[in-house]
């Protein structure tokens, strides 16, 4: 999945991982412009964040639209009125001597995280602040919460100029923004999901592959630490072991359908293998893994179909995307032909020969 997302380091001309990078080094791919903090439910920049604040479902991780982000950024410029840090310190500390101190301190602490272009802007607004009238009130939802408290503990405690978030009962951190209900909800949902994932990971740790007889999740390389689920039965294998076995050449004397495509343990015939980082405990969980895998494949162009230039041997049951260069999807037309004996068959591979043009 990540192989199709442009590497951020590569984008800036300095990726140390080179060809071993797990992200794409192909300029045609789109960078991932999604705010990771927002995904966790806490982004202290709120709507001033330079990254996209969109909810990402598993189906689509990259939202490739450089146009979109550009407009987003420009609108941000208009929205920014005044850094809330300054206004907050004014409100909280009436004595001028300490206020200067704290505001300087908190500015220093927030500035490095800000992109350079807002820095210049900030100076402007603070100058405006002293000369002319400027809105000093910032709606509570726009105020950032203290990132120290959100990540565990704030050293300044009660004297902290920032709002401290409410305690999340699951992760035990003060990271629930009091005035952003959708963010809270998102965070709690994420926490629940993470918890479940961790739990599943713990259970998966003990599971052994019956081909290499090793714990699947203790394999040396990350690529090997994956399960290969079989569609028709529930026996665990490493993805590499089961794939190696299934791609074993039939020349070695093994039957293709009764041995190679079958589960090595129960010999039940499965037509495909699904890679997964965790092992499932219920039928529904397995279904979820299978579905998300299929959705993922559906977003990748089929190399056999080749935008309509080739033919895919899997036809309409191919897991990959069959789309033409203009984005049009291949039309799936099943032709039912009445066979001579009265039964109906589904015709494959009928080519439409254009007879209209000639006449």
């Amino acid at each position: 999945m990540s192989k199709r997302i442009l590497c951020k380091f590569f984008l800036h001309g300095a990726c140390l991982k080179g060809e071993y990078c797990e992200f794409s080094h192909d300029w045609q791919d789109q960078p991932n412009n999604i705010c990771t903090f927002y995904q966790k439910g806490v982004c202290s920049y709120g709507n001033r964040c330079r990254y996209d604040h969109v909810k990402v479902s598993r189906q689509q991780t990259s939202r490739p639209s450089s146009l979109n982000t550009a407009s987003h950024v420009t609108s941000d410029f208009h929205q920014v009125t005044l850094p809330p840090v300054v206004s907050l310190t004014r409100e909280y500390n009436p004595e001028p001597s300490t206020s200067v101190d704290v505001s300087a301190m908190s500015l220093a602490h927030t500035l490095p995280c800000k992109p350079a272009w807002t820095k210049a802007f900030e100076v402007d607004t603070s100058l405006n602040d002293e000369s002319g009238p400027c809105p000093t009130y910032v709606s509570p939802a726009d105020q950032p919460i203290c990132s120290f408290a959100a990540s565990g503990k704030c050293p300044r405690g009660d004297r902290c100029p920032h709002i401290h978030g409410d305690l999340c009962s699951i992760c035990g951190k003060h990271c629930l923004h009091p005035f952003r209900p959708d963010e809270r909800e998102e965070h709690i949902k994420m926490c629940h999901k993470n918890n479940k994932h961790l739990e599943a990971l713990k259970c998966s740790q003990e599971i052994e592959c019956s081909v290499c007889l090793e714990h699947v999740l203790s394999k040396p390389t990350a690529a090997e630490r994956k399960f290969g689920l079989l569609s028709e039965c529930d026996h665990p294998f490493c993805i590499s072991c089961i794939r190696n076995w299934r791609s074993n050449s039939p020349a070695s004397g093994m039957d293709v359908n009764s041995a190679l495509r079958a589960c090595p343990i129960c010999r039940k015939l499965s037509y495909f293998v699904i890679p997964s980082v965790i092992w499932y405990s219920t039928k529904e969980e397995k279904q979820e893994i299978v579905d998300s895998y299929k959705i993922k494949l559906k977003s990748i162009d089929c190399k056999y179909f080749d935008f309509g230039n080739g033919t895919c041997p899997f036809g309409t049951s191919c897991f990959y995307k069959h789309a033409y260069r203009d984005g049009r999807l291949e039309e799936v037309v099943l032709r039912h032909l009445d066979a001579e004996d009265g039964s109906t068959i589904i015709a494959k591979d009928i080519r439409f020969v254009s007879g209209f043009e000639g006449g």
Binding site: S210, C212, L213, E214, W245, S252, M254, D255
Partner: protein
């Protein structure tokens, strides 16, 4: 037995090649190295798996007293097994020796197993000791272990399959319904070959 061993061997071979055929271009040796790398990965996998099986065998020695699996001291791809003839068969009381020769692609390919002890059985070649068993050929599964192969062979001894014989004499006796004849022949060979000599 370490992965370095392969590498060192290759290195020596390379060096030798360079010494004897010093005019050969470097490219040849490079290609050689590449092919070596892919095959050594397979070897590494089979070796890791055999090592696991070895440990498993050591740990569960007492669990199955009918099977005694021993690995060759210097070669992990050569094993021998001693199996006891199943009770209520003409092979009862005999101890049969099996030789395992394991391919480098194991467990993707089945091990080659043959009887070293003479045995009169429809599915075992009388001269070579070759075994006709589907799981050692087209129905092999990588989930089988050497231990479970031994168990399958014991099961085959108890339930001969006369319709696909490697030993025609034995197969014909059973197919013609002469169970008594088969039993006495099998018993005789067990006494002769698989039991300790008296006195």
């Amino acid at each position: 037995m370490s992965p370095f061993y392969d590498w060192i061997c290759q290195f020596y071979v390379l060096q030798d090649e360079c010494l004897t055929k010093s005019f050969k271009p470097v490219l040849v040796s490079v290609c050689f190295e590449f092919s070596g790398a892919s095959s050594s990965k397979i070897m590494q996998a089979s070796r890791a798996r055999l090592f696991k099986e070895y440990k498993e065998v050591q740990r569960e020695k007492a669990v199955d007293p009918d099977i005694q699996l021993v690995c060759d001291d210097s070669n992990i791809y050569k094993w021998t097994a001693l199996i006891k003839g199943p009770s209520e068969t003409p092979y009862e009381g005999g101890v049969f020796q099996l030789a395992f020769s394991i391919p480098e692609q194991y467990p993707l390919l089945p091990p080659q197993v043959r009887f070293l002890t003479k045995i009169f059985h429809p599915n075992v070649h009388f001269k070579t000791g070759e075994i006709c068993l589907d799981i050692l050929k087209n129905a092999w599964s990588p989930a089988w272990t050497l231990q479970s192969v031994c168990r399958a062979i014991i099961a085959l001894m108890a339930h001969p399959e006369p319709d696909s014989p490697l030993n025609c004499d034995s197969g014909n006796l059973l197919r013609s319904g002469d169970v008594r004849g088969y039993r006495s022949m099998a018993r005789m060979y067990t006494r002769l070959a698989a039991m300790p000599k008296k006195g």
